[in-house]
Amino acid sequence: MSVTELLTQSLEMIAAVAAAPLFLGWINQCRAWLQNRSAPSVLQPYRVIHKLFHKDAVIAANASPLFRGAPYIVFGVMVVAAAIIPSMGTRLPFTVAADAIALVGLLATARVFMALAAMDIGTAFGTLGARREMMVGFLAEPALLMVIFVASLISATTSLPKISEHLTTEAIGLYPSLAFTAVAFTMVLLAENARIPIDNPSTHLELTMIHEAMLLEYSARHLALMEWAAALKLFNYACIGFALFVPWGIAAGAAAPSALLIAIPVLGLKLLLAGGGLALIETLSAKLRVFRAPEFLATAFLFAVLGLLVHLLLGG
């Protein structure tokens, strides 16, 4: 474990935690532009989090310790997830401990705690949101795993940094299988992060909401942590996407610290483009009925499996 590796690791974690609200702010700004609204500042999510941290928390009388603990657990899990996703360099000391499948498990842990906390108070909305979240989750997870399996088959490893390294060093070719899985991954990303075809992130009181329904009982610092964790989750998903499909520009292998200097602006550029793309998708599509969500995610699963089959048959 060299100094450079430790430096890369800590830099990645700090950057993820610090830049996640900025990424969310950027997406919101793009959405506002595309929808002809005057855009909020890119820094708006920071202001919201800052404001919430300075408020006094109101907690229901019958809340159990689980309810108080869940925000810290969820936030912690997301930080750990950020640590094992290669966003800038591929030589990360933490990634030896956990591969891509463990990462999916980590994200599932966060989801379970969130759903449990939402049901803890016993309000109708919380339970409703938790149930819907679990439905979306159990449909999205196989699709996400299938996406990871395709990338793993191509690179013959389940470790995310090794997949990125393999793809950056491989001669550039056309991979129809990767194109299919990229579409599947985008759909999973939208569903898992409560984006538009499945859930509307900008609504707060609506019968069809999923993610917001689970947070209704939270206030002040707990809500701030939950919102921050949600932003971090989106950031993490974007970085998983980059690692699997567009790893170019990452500091691959035992690179010199100077490679990191290139990797940082490249990551910023990718995030800028990804944010714009996400905003475009969300503007162009309408929210689906909750009962159509299984169809949406079945399509994502189908794309991922098609990618797998195409890879096995055509070898590309």
């Binding site: 129809p176 299984p294 079945a298 189908l302 098609l306 195409v310 096995l312 048959l313 070898g315």
Partner: protein
């Protein structure tokens, strides 16, 4: 992994797109969009044919690519759209409730088709033999599309898509059929379309709908 030459890679992309379009047709509810998808499938098929023709230097494949372009991309979709307009079924949708299940069934069919095509691919001597499985899968998926539909128009689209799959299979297994056969098939499809066009009007006059479920009951039961 050994790197394929760029034209084979492009052909693989075409094959993957054909498979994708077959699934898109399987899950599409709106009949007009089905016709658009059919036209797209024809266009991809045309590109694939040109690629194979360029790779093998067989000039008769250029002719069949032109035939595909003229018939399957331009003429038949135009004819179908015109029919849809005149039958006033523009806003018709299929009453399908279990699309997710149908698509999972489609996945099983693809696996079955890939297994089925493996011995054929092993025997074929063409450089495009890896796409035979995709062609068989497209054919079977089109068949499934026909089975799951109730409206006459979408069954026709499924039928034409099946023909696309067979054409692609012939191309990947033996670099296309003899010219005479190809012209014969094209003519058959064309005539079938024209006859069915007339037939649709008759069906609608008789049953006041293009829903083929009406065919399932005998006259006395109605």
């Amino acid at each position: 992994m050994t790197q394929l030459s760029w034209d084979l890679q492009l052909l693989n992309v075409c094959a993957a797109l054909l498979l994708l379009l077959a699934f898109a047709m399987l899950s599409q509810r709106r009949i007009v969009t089905l016709v658009d998808l059919l036209a797209m499938q024809g266009a991809v098929l045309c590109i694939a044919t040109v690629l194979v023709a360029w790779r093998t230097g067989k000039s008769h494949l250029y002719v069949s690519a032109l035939l595909t372009l003229g018939l399957k991309v331009l003429f038949l979709p135009w004819l179908l759209r015109r029919l849809i307009r005149r039958l006033e079924v523009y806003w018709d949708t299929e009453p399908m409730d279990n699309i997710g299940g149908t698509m999972l069934l489609g996945l099983l069919i693809v696996i079955f088709a890939f297994g089925l095509a493996q011995p054929i691919s092993a025997l074929a001597s063409t450089s495009t033999k890896s796409t035979i499985g995709v062609a068989v899968a497209v054919t079977l998926l089109a068949f499934l599309t026909m089975i799951t539909r109730k409206k006459a128009m979408s069954q026709i689209v499924g039928f034409l898509s099946m023909e696309n799959g067979l054409f692609f299979a012939a191309m990947s297994a033996t670099y296309g059929m003899p010219m005479v056969v190809e012209f014969g098939v094209a003519l058959d499809v064309l005539v079938a379309m024209l006859v069915l066009g007339v037939f649709f009007f008759q069906i609608r006059e008789r049953f006041e709908s293009l829903d083929l479920r009406h065919f399932e009951s005998l006259k006395e039961d109605r």
